[in-house]
């Protein structure tokens, strides 16, 4: 009783603080979409889907997790048994099948713990770098203690003939019971085992909310409240609030949303995010795991006084208090960490809010990105080219430029700045236009009336500049009566499709790779296959953020022999340009060279891409590595294959 209340009080006090800290968070709307949320709970929590992305550690975790779900009633049974040796839970305590499940899962948990220790002590994967390793060992030891004492308790009860269930149902306990006599020693041991079992559980309960193992309590909640809408969408800021509330982004702990605080409580430092992070992989300071851990430390430091409303207390800035400026700017917003995280932490949202604060409240960001922001604002494209030259490439091909008042085309081709202005990226626009013409698609471009979607500004944290462009583009598109858009840039594609609805622009948006693949499937384009080996690089903003996987692949299959890279599909590795990094300098290893090396290792002669930035980054990477590989957009490969037939 005393032990139970001590443990209960410790747990409750801590829980109250944690709940208070979460409730202190700024609002973020996570209501609605209940069926999707229920599905997430079933798949990600109960089904352990994300953990099982890595089979062995996933199975180990699943064994321990499922084991604990099954063993939960034994906590009550043990507590009853500890108080009164001859009582047990009505009904369930007598069931042979339950005794069997307990035996089975207790052993499974034990095997899981051994496996986990083997990984931690023998294999020592790099993803644990920076995690609290001692804490993990203590927790594993406690888990092992809990199931061992349970098995021993059951064994001793069988030896004493105290088992309420048919002994034959619990083979392991039954086998162990052979090593106990039926005398006084066993009677003492039986008491010792049950009390040890209960006390370890109670200490575990008290320790849990003070440790990284808190995820037992928070993970399921965090998964439930994870974003259900488009993953590539960022939450818009409002600029029409009262002046005294004008704080943008996350400057201190007080600016975090409740979900962000909950994120920090859910992290169990498994390091899967760190393992897939392109910044970390190339020697940058950013690790998504260490970011979340640093924010959690800051929440525990500044949160309690904020919660108390301590007089004159000022929370310290998150940058550089919790993390350095470099950490904030190293991120390419590729979303690999978010996708990998088994507890649905949304790392990119944290990064963007930190950037928003630095850019909009402190005007602090890498100096080399300033011309891009200025050019987007002033010239409507990130290189400061004259808007009047935007459609120059199209004029040569006789592409219709939609003038105000013209009837809307069936499909509006949103070219994007890179494909309009960049020499290397433009080939894709030319190919796409030629293919659309060849297939007889009724399309037009906006020409000088198209401007940057604002994506690079938004990913830099300059939400204000983004919204100005969003509103302008939405009004152009709406006035032109546009209903369907094909975009050649995955970043435009993501912004137009996922983010413009927040600004009154709702269109059917497809990526050129999808539209072209459809035209091939419908027989409106007839490519010629070849023996050329082609490896396709998935863009983060197509594959990971928007599930566009099949379109580009079907084009590649139609024109050559596809060969996959190790990291492909939704687990693709960034080219290094995302998150406005096209306009920033890398301060350590180069992501594009790393990716180009991976592509070259497939032995393919062509590296297919579907994004103008991937085109430029990987072409640079290939050249820097001294490789002969050709980098080409899927639209270009498709157009060439048609040309081959003399069509």
């Amino acid at each position: 009783m005393v032990a139970l209340s001590i443990s209960g009080v410790l747990f409750a006090r801590r829980a109250r603080l944690l709940v208070g800290l979460v409730r202190m968070g700024k609002p973020t709307d996570r209501s609605g979409d209940l069926p999707q949320r229920a599905r997430n709970e079933a798949e990600i929590v109960l089904g352990q889907r994300k953990l099982l992305q890595r089979l062995v550690p996933g199975l180990i975790h699943a064994a321990i997790f499922w084991g604990f779900l099954v063993l939960l009633p034994t906590i009550v049974i043990a507590m009853i048994g500890a108080v009164d040796r001859d009582s047990t839970l009505p009904w369930l305590g007598h069931q042979g099948w339950f005794a069997f499940l307990v035996d089975f899962f207790a052993v499974l948990v034990l095997l899981g713990v051994i496996g986990a220790l083997a990984i931690r002590k023998v294999q020592r994967p790099a993803r644990f770098e920076g995690s609290h390793l001692g804490e993990a060992d203590l927790i594993l030891a406690m888990i092992a203690g809990i199931v061992t004492t349970l098995l021993l308790w059951h064994a001793s009860r069988i030896a004493l003939g105290l088992n309420e269930w048919p002994a034959g149902w619990s083979p392991v306990s039954n086998a162990l019971s052979g090593s106990f006599g039926d005398g006084g020693v066993t009677k003492v041991l039986e008491r010792a085992f049950v009390w040890a079992h209960v006390l370890i559980i109670l200490s575990f309960l008290a320790y849990l909310p003070h440790s990284k193992h808190l995820h037992i309590a928070t993970a399921a909640v965090n998964v439930f409240f994870t974003r259900t809408r488009a993953r590539g969408r960022l939450e818009p800021l409002r600029f029409d609030g009262p002046e005294e509330e004008m704080r943008f982004g996350a400057g201190t702990v007080a600016d975090l949303t409740w979900k962000q605080t909950l994120d920090t409580f859910s992290c169990t430092e498994c390091g899967r995010c760190q393992d897939v992070c392109p910044a970390w992989a190339t020697g940058k300071e950013l690790s998504p795991k260490l970011l979340i851990m640093a924010l959690r430390d800051q929440v525990f430091e500044d949160g309690p006084p904020l919660l108390r409303g301590a007089d004159g207390f000022e929370a310290q800035p998150l940058v550089p208090g919790a993390v350095t400026d470099n950490v904030v700017w190293d991120c390419v917003t590729c979303g690999a960490c978010v996708r990998e995280c088994p507890v649905s932490i949304e790392h990119v949202d944290h990064i963007i809010d930190l950037r928003r604060h630095l850019v909009m409240m402190e005007s602090r960001f890498p100096a080399e990105a300033e011309p891009m922001l200025r050019d987007v604002e002033r010239a409507g494209n990130p290189w400061g080219k004259p808007q009047t030259e935007r459609a120059d490439w199209a004029e040569r091909l006789g592409v219709r430029v939609l003038e105000p008042g013209d009837p809307a085309p069936e499909v509006l081709y949103w070219v994007g700045c890179a494909a309009s202005f960049d020499e290397r990226a433009r080939t894709a626009a030319e190919s796409t236009a030629k293919l659309l013409k060849a297939a007889g698609v009724d399309f037009a471009i906006l020409g000088p009336r198209e401007s940057c979607t604002g994506d690079p500004a938004r990913r830099m944290g300059n939400e204000y500049l983004f919204q100005a462009h969003a509103e302008q583009n939405v009004s152009t598109l709406n006035e032109s009566g546009v209903t369907k858009i094909v975009a050649s840039c995955p970043h435009c594609f993501n912004t137009l499709g996922n983010e413009y609805p927040d600004f009154g622009g709702s269109y059917e948006v497809v990526h050129h790779s999808e539209l072209l693949a459809d035209l091939v499937a419908e027989g409106r384009l007839s490519p010629n296959g070849s023996n050329k080996e082609i490896t396709y690089h998935d863009s983060c903003y197509l594959a990971r953020h928007n599930d566009v996987l099949e379109g580009p692949r079907s084009i590649v299959s139609a024109v050559g022999q596809p060969i996959e890279m190790e990291r492909s599909g939704k687990r693709t590795f960034c080219c290094g340009a995302g998150g406005a990094h096209m306009w920033m300098e890398e301060r350590a290893g180069l992501i594009n060279e790393e990716r180009a090396r991976e592509a070259a290792s497939t032995g393919a002669e062509t590296l297919a891409v579907a994004c103008p930035f991937c085109t430029v980054m990987l072409d640079d990477g290939v050249k820097a590595n001294g490789s002969e590989m050709r980098v080409a957009d899927v639209s270009t490969l498709l157009a060439e294959s048609l040309d081959d037939s003399g069509a």
Partner: protein, 317 residues
């Protein structure tokens, strides 16, 4: 009626241009902050004293005091960073219209007569969007604020002998919230990339850090600065300070020599301000050729030393 001009010591040329512009609007009075104002070619000079370092709020306060005393028909300043900033403060505090970077005065109407405030208007031409657009703006106000784009009008010549009045503006703390804390001189070593008349730049085609030897030799012959493309700094051949491009320095020399640079958009964004571009490239299809005025197609390791040798020969006594 008087027109009030904010003059800046140290920006005499631009201030005199503002005075010349203002003289088209009426009799010119000047506000100077500290210093000797006796030489300005104006009718009367007001000198605000006790202002140690530049503080836009404080300068604006001084200007407001003179506005209240003199009741001018317009306020003019040079289109310097300070001129624009101070007028922006006054415009915000007094809710007055401010037309920045004017280049000419088109018309001054005082139609309406009876209603002095409603009927007056002033039409000016001003530059917008970094010089890419000229805007004709009509300002309806009894007190328009105007700044004059640098070098748009000739400066007012000669020395005047204005009546000088000194005063100490009444400032409160909020006027000094923003002020200059420190002056830091730009550290410059050699010829600065941004200001060089000639820039010799190398790209991936140069091949290595050592390959820049021939680039440096040519630059030395031409008193030029050495630049490079982003791939060069990414590869660590040159420091980032040498990078010409969107994420480096934007240059505007008379001559830009691009050696072994393919001409990615990111690079062109940094050198498009050059008056003439000479490209030396082995690839006749390189995008740089679309931006170049002259091109030599061939191996830069032969061409660049050959140019250097010719220059040496020509300069030899």
């Amino acid at each position: 009626m008087a027109v009030l001009v904010l003059v800046e010591h140290g920006e005499d040329e631009l201030s005199r241009q503002a005075i010349a512009f203002a003289s088209g609007l009426g009799e010119v009075e000047a506000l100077a902050i500290d210093g000797d104002a006796s030489g300005w070619p104006v009718e009367r000079a007001h000198v605000a004293e006790g202002m140690d370092s530049y503080a836009p709020g404080a300068w604006a306060r001084a200007l407001e005091e003179v506005i209240d005393r003199v009741a001018p028909t317009a306020v003019v300043a040079a289109g310097t960073n300070r001129g624009n900033e101070v007028l922006a403060y006054v415009a915000a505090r007094r809710d007055l219209p401010f037309a920045a970077n004017c280049v000419s005065l088109l018309a001054q109407d005082s139609a309406g007569g009876a209603s002095a405030n409603g009927g007056e208007s002033l039409t000016v031409t001003r530059v917008r969007w970094g010089g890419s657009l000229l805007e004709e703006a009509r300002i309806h106000s009894s007190l328009p604020l105007l700044s004059v784009a640098p070098h748009a009008v000739p400066a007012a010549e000669g020395a005047g002998s204005p009546e000088v009045e000194t005063f100490t503006p009444e400032l409160d703390e909020s006027d000094l919230l923003v002020q200059v804390a420190e002056h830091v001189d730009e550290v410059s070593t050699g010829i600065s990339l941004a200001e060089a008349k000639v820039v010799v730049s190398g790209g991936r085609g140069v091949g290595s850090a050592d390959g820049f030897g021939i680039i440096e030799e040519l630059a030395a012959q031409l008193d030029a600065a050495v630049g490079c493309s982003r791939v060069v700094t990414s590869a660590g051949w040159r420091p980032h300070t040498d990078q010409v491009g969107q994420t480096g320095t934007k240059v505007s020399p008379d001559l830009y020599i691009a050696c072994g640079i393919s001409g990615a958009t990111q690079h062109i964004a940094g050198c498009k301000g050059a008056k003439k571009i000479l490209a030396i490239n082995s690839d006749a299809e390189a995008p740089i050729l679309a931006s170049a005025d002259y091109a030599v197609i061939g191996d830069l390791t032969e061409i660049v030393p050959a140019i250097t040798a010719e220059l040496r020969k020509a300069r030899a006594p």
